[in-house]
């Protein structure tokens, strides 16, 4: 069973539908016991990282998430939550992966949020990006981004170069929305579902 953590408001249905299209048995839950027992865990999220963090605290889920040992995939703000700190609302995050979330540098003719399809280059080979061609396109919607670090698996550029896919041990994340990224997004989700738990 795949536990999809119900913590961050909207857009969760898209994730559930995408998992259903792949034939996965997914449950939306905020129950720590259910999350701990799940074979895999997905942490979705939209909106502000600080607000999402507050909701995890209210539901007493922070310790539950940091202690998970099965594959965990953060999506969009759910990915940002895995890091140490966000400039957005000066928020402390789960600190599972060292790093900071920064705001895009304003430039002429650069619209913020970064909204639309952008390409990713892969540095490190990782089971999450198996079979994905270089420069595959994914759908992004965000104004803040995780910096590039040793945990970066895929890089994307929008004026600033940032981590589009990250991994540390069993924790992984993507800044884009795989559930809305057509066939390439479905491949990321399939890789996540098929990697050894």
């Amino acid at each position: 069973m795949i536990a999809v953590i119900d913590s961050c408001g909207s857009n969760i249905t898209s994730v559930l539908f995408a998992l259903q299209r792949l034939g996965a048995d997914a449950t939306l839950t905020s129950n720590p016991e259910v999350i701990k027992k799940a074979e895999r865990v997905i942490l979705p999220g939209v909106g502000a990282a600080g607000t999402a963090m507050e909701r995890l605290k209210e539901q007493d889920l922070t310790h539950c998430i940091t202690s998970l040992t099965q594959p965990v995939l953060g999506i969009c703000v759910g990915m940002q939550l895995l890091f140490t700190h966000s400039e957005e609302g000066n928020a402390n995050l789960l600190d599972i992966i060292p790093g900071k979330i920064r705001h895009f540098t304003p430039e002429k003719d650069k619209t913020i949020p970064h909204m639309g399809w952008n390409s990713i280059t892969f540095g490190n080979k990782h089971p999450l990006v198996k079979d994905l061609p270089e420069n595959s396109y994914f759908y992004f919607v965000h104004s803040y981004y995780p910096q590039v670090s040793q945990y970066t698996i895929g890089e994307c550029s929008y004026g600033d170069t940032f981590s589009a896919i990250i991994a540390r041990d069993n924790f992984m994340g993507c800044q884009f929305h795989p559930e809305r990224s057509s066939k390439t997004g479905a491949l990321i989700l399939r890789n996540f579902l098929e990697m050894p738990a």
Binding site: A48, P113, E179
Partner: protein, 255 residues
């Protein structure tokens, strides 16, 4: 590199896809799910579902359809039609929409744009603007889904665009009413003017008739995406062919 978006729009009335000319005389264009699925498969970058009479009828977009469409497509999904309060917006997002687009309700109550942005983030909030070019002025119109109820407002299009950006809109869809359904090309001048007025993404809408029109709107206006309906519904333009055409001409496009 961030690509330009090709966005088919399903104008929906009485459970069917319809399309009019200059927002009048709507004709049946086919089945909702068939179109939605075909566009996702052909490489559309986003899908807009617009319940065109919801606002003018004083009701909210049919949520059953949102769920059905969201289940079958794997591209971003924007929903519009009579969304007037946070509860409605929340339900539509819960049913699988990724973005909420408001038009007449934002004109009724501009603060609603801010409330949506505070509740769901600016990335979730699209404001549609129906703009008519009249005697050298661009004027915002309201309740355009029903020709008998369409109202001319006192708002200037560029001033309204700036205002919705301030209020928290994350994107603007500019529907150029004179061009709608006429297939003679996008309103380049008006789109250039709106691009100068705001910093958020702008989606061009109204007037697409041939592949060159998409090329022109991307090279001449700085639009982030181009929305069209008739030419895709009738299969006059195939999305995969259009994207190849644009990519061959050095426009940044996802193939």
């Amino acid at each position: 590199m961030l690509t330009k978006r090709i966005i088919p729009c399903l104008d929906v009335k009485d459970d069917r896809v319809v399309k009019g000319v200059q927002f009048r005389n709507h004709r049946d264009m086919g089945d909702i799910l068939e179109h939605a699925q075909r566009y996702a498969e052909e490489g559309a970058d986003e899908l807009v579902f617009y319940d065109i009479t919801a606002s003018s009828d004083g009701r909210v977009v049919d949520k059953e359809w949102i769920r059905k469409v969201a289940k079958v497509i794997d591209i971003p999904f924007c929903v519009a039609g009579g969304i007037r309060n946070i509860e409605d917006a929340q339900k539509i997002l819960n049913d699988g929409a990724d973005k909420i687009s408001v038009n007449s309700p934002a004109l009724e109550n501009p603060e609603f744009v801010t409330k949506l942005a505070e509740a769901f983030g600016t990335q979730c909030v699209v404001v549609g603007i129906d703009s008519l070019h009249e005697d050298g002025n661009y004027i915002v119109h309201q309740y355009t889904g029903d020709e008998k109820k369409t109202l001319k407002t006192s708002r200037d299009t560029m001033a309204w665009a700036k205002m919705v950006q301030e209020l928290g809109a994350g994107e603007i869809v500019l529907n150029c009413m004179n061009q709608d359904g006429v297939k003679k090309g996008y309103d380049i001048e008006q789109l250039q003017a709106i691009r100068r007025s705001v910093d958020i993404p702008v989606i061009a809408s109204g007037g697409a008739g041939k592949e060159e029109d998409f090329h022109d709107v991307f090279t001449m206006t700085g639009a982030d995406g181009a929305l069209a309906a008739s030419v895709f519904h009738t299969r006059q333009i195939h999305i995969a062919d259009l994207k190849q055409y644009l990519s061959d001409r050095k426009i940044s496009i996802r193939l």
